[in-house]
Symmetry: C2
Subunit: 334 residues, 2 copies
């Protein structure tokens, strides 16, 4: 009826349970004969060890808790892929839970995962609540905190150099002969938001160009779409030829608006994004953007976690991964 246990195997093989355990784990020498008998019994019974029991005594669950805002958000799914693939290499499994941005859930789920004895936690959110970060930092398991927008001080994370990435894109735009460039963001005062803005402003100033910043109400496609009318108005009035969006989602929103209103991209206006979400390369015109290496962010996060777990010490730092400017169709090239 219920699945066979190590006892059943031992009985059938005519040895003690220790011997069975030993052949399963190769933890101690076992005579060839006993080994054979055990293996036979295992096969005959189709025995599968109960990892729960194993975890209990070993005090190692081999579980990593991944708390994600919404697994349907494609870049988050990319991060999870990275976590999972590296996790698999080290025999870690993923316990996945979504919060949908609800801070109570974030907190509850964290507790719950600890209860399930996860050995580490990766929290993938957007605009994480400070309380949650506090809690994350004050619980016992090592963690990584990944937030596209909210780069908290002194948290353990993996990201790119936002100032520099933003500079690179601004420089690129200028090199393509754009002089009047709007920077579209939703300014929330976050460290990352400031960094992107700074990169843009610095380069514009260096080149004696005026920084023109506009604000969207929400970092998503709708946010980009809704501000588009104003942007386009300003563009014709003030001779703007390019818009640098702080997030791909904003750029897609703008692109959608342009399509809906017969504005040709990049002929009439150039649009650049930031992120390189999967959609950016599929959409037409394809989006010129800065690639944030989501998969790698996940993979490196997991590697760091594994290292912490192995060395049994908590680390608090920020690993910087390289970003890359991806030239596509949405920016007019000279």
């Amino acid at each position: 009826m219920s699945s066979p246990t190590i006892k059943d195997v031992a009985k059938l093989a005519g040895v003690s349970i220790s011997t069975v355990s030993r052949v399963m784990n190769d933890s101690k020498p076992v005579s060839p004969e006993a080994r054979r008998k055990v293996i036979d019994a295992i096969n005959k019974l189709d025995f599968k060890p109960n990892e729960l029991a194993r975890s209990l005594v070993m005090k190692r669950s081999n579980l990593i808790g991944v708390i994600v805002k919404d697994i349907g958000i494609s870049y988050m799914a990319q991060i999870v892929r990275g976590i999972e693939e590296i996790g698999r290499m080290y025999k870690y499994d993923i316990l996945l839970s979504s919060t949908y941005g609800d801070i109570e859930q974030e907190s509850k789920i964290m507790d719950f995962m600890l209860t399930k004895q996860v050995e580490g936690i990766v929290m993938i959110s957007e605009d994480t609540n400070p309380e949650v970060i506090y809690k994350l930092k004050n619980q016992s398991a090592p963690f990584i905190h990944l937030d596209k927008f909210y780069d908290y001080e002194d948290t353990h994370t993996v990201s790119i150099d936002y100032v520099n990435a933003s500079k690179e894109m601004t420089n690129y735009l200028i090199k393509q002969n754009h002089k009047r460039i709007i920077f579209l963001e939703e300014f929330t005062g976050t460290k990352i938001g400031k960094a992107k803005q700074k990169g843009y402003i610095d380069v514009m100033e260096e080149n004696g160009l005026e920084a023109i910043i506009m604000n969207a109400a929400g970092i998503n496609i709708k946010g980009g779409y809704d501000i588009s009318e104003k942007i386009l108005e300003k563009a014709v009035k003030e001779d703007v030829s390019a818009v640098f969006c702080a997030e791909d989602e904003l750029a897609i929103g703008l692109l959608n608006y342009c399509y809906d209103h017969n504005v040709k991209v990049p002929e009439n206006i150039s649009i650049a994004g930031f992120g390189d979400v999967p959609l950016a390369s599929i959409y037409r015109p394809s989006l010129t953007t800065v690639r944030e290496p989501y998969y790698d962010i996940g993979a490196v996060s997991m590697r760091k976690l594994v290292k912490e777990l192995k060395e049994n010490q908590k680390i608090i730092d920020n690993t910087i991964l390289p970003s890359e400017l991806i030239e596509r169709e949405s920016v007019l090239k000279i």
Copy 2:
């Protein structure tokens, strides 16, 4: 140092561990005084019960294994959302693992999940290997098998009525005055593939129209893109005005090709898809398609699993969910 156990709580509260257990689970009456003392102790120690130990003795892991081809595939992520949200209602957690289509992995992961004592399994794949299905059916845990293409006989799944959905779209196209309509598919001989094809052919015949079927080499954006030149050639030569793609991905590939080659959609040619992947509504022109309710498919799957678990009996059947024709821009309306 290491986290407090029920013993520590008992000691601090001056009661036995049984009493602590009883207040935690409300399983038996406890005197108000003892209850208070226990609760105090729990709070003081920030005690969190070890679910692993609990699962071991209760023989209930509260874990559902979700085996997914690739969590980065957006419609799969939508399904997982549905699974997760319903799972949460019943206190089930998600153990997530990706296979990347590798059949050895599919099999290994399944074993591994059983080892972790998952109570049920949801397998979300594409073109699942028969061996894997066989194995899925012959293991002990209840399962749901979700495959967009491969509708195996006698498996436990949740889907839509493909023949009917395909008929609906074909009828719609005809109503929009299209007479020469290409059906683009990658014919793999699967039940679902046949169903979609049948829906199209039946309606075309009913209307005295010729069925024109073309084959892509792969059900993905590239597959659609690569066959596009031929399609467009045939379209001009044979006066075809619409293409009904058996999958949204094929339609997006075709749309991309049209954009790249200055073919206007829907003015020059109308394109319809099947699926309503998230991208379909974002892309411009937005894609007229058949909505497969991915989230609901996940949610209903989980409900079925919960029911099986509760009633402790395996069910093998196919739940049919309603689909919906989504009118957007890619098909020229009269």
